[in-house]
């Protein structure tokens, strides 16, 4: 699979450093399941973290620290996290949030072939899935902040280009766009925003308010 649109270096760096909030981390980790290049780039950035740790001025541990740790070495470890289902088309990092079957989710219908589903994350940004039937378009919208969209299944097109499974589109506040799902499989996206979307026109605004976009 070849990926045409990757998250920017600033996103990969913030994921590797740990500065990214949970929603952005979810998007980057999910993209990386599609993309060997970004997996490698994250590893490179983590190596920078290794340097940062090496260069860190050491702060002495208390006198009993090692002894008290020794007493814990034989404690049983907590249960290991359940392994990801590799048969699923839901990326492994996303499975912890929504399970393994897009079809089984409680989609909220917005109208015009579009449904969505908020994903609960902490740390300030909003993550949600957007599901678009072939040929349906999300309302024209602008953003107060940045928005990142990872295509999970299917594909869509807007005035900036064509986005297929694995691609990440980054949009900035000044861009107004109207993505339309292509013919073919249903298009499901993971969208992360740092501010509510601003829909144009009265009806979309009411719909957006009602559905908590």
């Amino acid at each position: 699979m070849s990926i045409a649109h990757h998250p920017g270096d600033e996103l990969l760096l913030s994921y590797a450093s740990g500065a990214a909030n949970e929603a952005v981390a979810l998007l980057v980790a999910s993209h990386a399941t599609f993309c060997a290049q970004c997996r490698a780039r994250v590893q490179r950035a983590e190596a920078t973290g290794g340097r940062v740790l090496t260069d860190m001025a050491p702060v002495p541990m208390s006198a009993q620290a090692y002894e008290s740790l020794l007493a814990r070495l034989d404690e049983p470890a907590r249960a290991v996290v359940q392994a990801a289902h590799l048969q699923s088309d839901v990326p492994a990092p996303l499975q912890a949030y929504i399970g393994t079957d897009y079809g089984a989710l409680p989609w909220r219908h917005v109208g015009g072939g579009i449904s969505h589903l908020p994903i609960r994350t902490r740390g300030g940004m909003r993550a949600r899935l957007i599901r678009a039937e072939p040929g349906s378009g999300v309302y024209t919208h602008t953003h107060k902040g940045e928005e990142w969209t990872l295509v999970l299944t299917g594909s869509y097109t807007d005035k900036t280009g064509h986005y297929a499974a694995g691609d990440v589109q980054s949009t900035t506040p000044e861009i107004s766009h109207q993505p339309t799902a292509d013919a073919g499989p249903v298009c499901i996206n993971l969208a992360v925003t740092d501010a509510p979307l601003v829909f144009r026109g009265l009806l979309p605004k009411l719909v957006a308010k009602f559905h908590g976009f």
């Binding site: 500065a19 981390a25 490179r44 920078t48 740790l53 208390s62 990092p93």
Partner: protein, 185 residues
């Protein structure tokens, strides 16, 4: 830290993983625990919390050492990811969506290869040199990302720079670091 020191730390983690070698573990504790504590305090943790989490990080090292693969990362990088994740979990109380790069099902066969043969102790030595040679304004932003934990929009505001400038500095810096590692030109 020179190549020899990086290789020594790698070998110690491998010894813990293979044989629960407690002497090796103590040497790793002496090296890493005070640095992890320093890292956590630099990011705002108090002394007691940082000490507890540094202990937890060492316990994680003990338990997961058998998973450590020096062909994928140096011991320092591996320890950094452990400390980073513990901090996100315990202090920020967020989940950390983690990609396990060792998960073979995620790696298309054709795209494997080059990485695996890299000697990470040497590669990270080159990375260190490249970091030291970064222009000051690029190094500043890389360090802020690791040690200030601010979104880049906030870093931009505090430095009085447009967000686009911060992003382009990050791109330039990351490209240089990748070049130093020799895997992308």
């Amino acid at each position: 830290m020179d190549v020899g020191e990086a290789a020594r730390l790698n070998a110690l983690v491998v010894a813990v993983g293979r044989a629960q070698d407690r002497a090796a573990f103590q040497a790793l504790f002496d090296h890493f625990a005070p640095r992890v504590k320093g890292y956590l305090m630099r990011l705002g943790a108090g002394n007691a919390v940082a000490e507890d989490l540094a202990q937890d990080a060492m316990l994680t090292l003990w338990r997961k050492a058998s998973l450590f693969d020096p062909a994928k990362a140096s011991a320092s990088t591996w320890m950094f990811t452990i400390a980073r994740n513990l901090r996100i979990d315990a202090i920020r109380r967020e989940r950390r969506p983690e990609l396990d790069p060792n998960e073979p099902a995620l790696l298309p066969e054709a795209e494997r290869g080059a990485d695996e043969s890299l000697d990470w102790a040497q590669a990270e030595d080159r990375l260190h040199a490249a970091l030291a040679e970064l222009p000051r304004e690029q190094a500043e932003i890389i360090h802020l990302s690791f040690l200030a934990e601010k979104p880049h929009s906030l870093i931009a505001t505090e430095l009085g720079l447009p967000l686009g400038t911060v992003k382009s500095r990050i791109r330039l810096a990351m490209a240089r670091l990748r070049q130093a590692l020799g895997d992308e030109s």
